[in-house]
Amino acid sequence: MQKLLLLGDEAIAQGALDAGISGIYAYPGTPSTEITEFIQNSKFAFDNHIHSSWSANEKTAMESALGMSYTGKRSMVCMKHVGLNVAADPFINSAITGANGGMIVVAADDPSMHSSQNEQDSRFFGKFALVPILEPSNQQEAYNMVLYGFDFSEKYKIPVLLRITTRLAHSRSGVVRAESVRKQNDLKMPEDLRQFVLLPVIARKRYKNLLKAHSAFIEESEKSPFNEYRDGADKSLGIIVCGIAQNYLMENYPDRNIPHPVLKIGQYPMPRKLVEKMADECNEILVLEDGYPMVEELLKGYLGRGLKIKGRLDGTLPRDGELNPNIIAVALGKPDTFGLPVPNLVVGRPPSLCSGCPHIDSYAALTETLSQLSNGRVFSDIGCYTLGALKPYEAINSCVDMGASITMAKGAADAGLIPAVAVIGDSTFTHSGMTGLLDAINDKSPITILILDNGTTAMTGGQDSPAFGKIENICKGLGVEEAHIRILKPLKKYHNENVAILQEELAYNGVSVIIPRRECIVAIDKRIRDKFKNK
């Protein structure tokens, strides 16, 4: 069959279509966004009524996927690593309820924080939940693992976690598809209609089942096609390599012959017997894993006595950041390579708000309004407008997690910082801001909330915003007084008017919501181009 050139994300999406999913659920988040977009743009998905529209957040996405699995159909849910924090509650509990139709949870980690606020390793979540984890080393394996993962999920009635990293998600390579496409499952209720009722009396039984199944998962890992022990003559060192780190290892051996025994891990829980074989045969073990030193810690044990384990914890590899071929060359005692030094005159070019961006005018008005007050009052959130922290704006003082602007402003106001301001985007507001707003209304907190409404989920590339056309009604419905919901047009020519409105609302001793509304200029550009294209 013909090779397709696919991003890791796209390979996963193609795998899901070929595995017969009935729906994919997600909230956009780099580096996971392209999985869902591939399915949204697929004619096959459209013709076969495969659900693919965006969810309000990762928690609602996870729960919807679980609901689809409940009915016996196959579902996939995708998110970036920090999205799994938002979805942690249903995720951990889905291991206890188990699945009915096959269910795969994709978590895309971002070591080196190319586009994130941390580099947490989702394998820990998988281990915590006691679900099996698949970790591909390349795009073909990513595709194959989706088919394998759905089979596994249906065999053991358990959600499967597929963990990828940015480098795999956003790298293209050839992928060969399976010979046949599987049909979607028919509706088929769980055999035990109390399977998903996690009352303590039932949950206790289900948890014991999960613990029992866990031994079977380890057995499956021992014989998994994705876990491979390759022997080598030089037993002074054994190498355990997880996921994409395998590629960086191979890069250091152009003839692909590695003199040491290598255990390649692509499926967890860890294959215990294979690890023991290596421990028996080798004097030292080098662990290469992108993300946190999870496998390394496991091998070291609490006291670290006995076998010598090398990796991120003993300084053989850097403790943080993404791996690359050079880091691994040095760990193997091979010479490092380096080109020319970067000339001193080279300065950084950080991302910035686009010229003409409505956020620029919103920040201009806000900064002027606050100029008479002491600094440090603006709690912000996750989106393009987070770039307002950088020069020349320096307009915000926090960015923690989706929705934290409103609740942090409320906490600060509770402590006496009055006025406190929250700045949040339209789709971040419906992702995780609404519940915090309810808290503020119930306490009549003296905070001013700017909901920057650019009509799209801009940072991740302009996906439809679940908030579109709903913001005022949501605010009214939650109880914001109508007189204190103000709409602005963030344009230079209305600057003085906007400052005046901001001043009025900052003076109000209660919750105000100000909505600067103007379409994202990249979205306008795209809309016009699409219109032109369709003519």
């Binding site: 780099t30 190319h114 586009s115 293209r172 390579s173 080109g339 970067v342 000339p343 910035s352 020069k391």
Partner: protein
């Protein structure tokens, strides 16, 4: 044959298009390919780079090791210098000389070009001017691709075919314009290499 290429520029300048064209030409010749891209936050007018690896043998790493790139292809002069640690001793630096100045502390352009000229094997050209002459300033990235073409280890015609394929939905005029841009870069490099 194996070529490891660093593509550099500023978000929105079209390095992914260059990668797609070289990638298509490589695949048509039955080569293997790995191409790592930048998505998300850094696209907003920030520095962007892509690792493009093509080879007749299977490729291991998605990332090119430092000191081993055969080429840096850059659509912006300052960006061309940022990735020099990747370039091998015999490697070529092919860069646009037209600056994209969207930061307050953009260095003096003549100092930047002086640094470019220190790289043993380099081609530096005013791609924006050549692109305008070819019919559209938007084709600067294709001019740069043309300037890189003598070092790609593949027949020039394969790149022409790839351009015809890439722009097939945009009509003959756009194809011709881009072929002219490719040729302008190609001729410049052959004269100055």
């Amino acid at each position: 044959m194996k070529k490891d290429i660093i593509l550099a520029g500023v978000g929105g300048q079209g390095i992914i298009s260059i990668a797609a064209i070289i990638g298509y030409a490589a695949l048509e010749q039955g080569m293997f390919l790995k191409q790592s891209e930048v998505h998300g936050m850094s696209q907003r007018g920030g520095e962007v780079m892509s690792n493009l690896r093509i080879s007749h043998h299977e490729i291991a790493s998605d990332l090119i090791p430092f000191g081993q790139a055969d080429m840096i292809i850059s659509i912006e002069p300052l960006e061309s210098l940022r990735y020099l640690p990747y370039l091998s001793k015999e490697g070529w630096l092919v860069t646009n000389t037209t600056p994209l100045n969207n930061i307050p502390n953009y260095p003096d352009i003549s100092s930047i070009l002086e640094e470019v000229r220190k790289v043993p094997h380099h081609i530096a050209l005013e791609a924006d001017v050549l692109a305008k002459e070819a019919g559209s300033a938007k084709a600067a990235n294709i001019v740069i691709l043309g300037a890189a073409s003598p070092f790609l280890g593949m027949a020039y015609e394969k790149l022409e075919d790839a351009i015809r394929f890439t722009f097939r939905k945009k009509g003959d005029k756009v194809i011709e314009l881009n072929l002219a841009a490719l040729k302008a870069g190609h001729d410049f490099a052959n004269k100055h290499k």
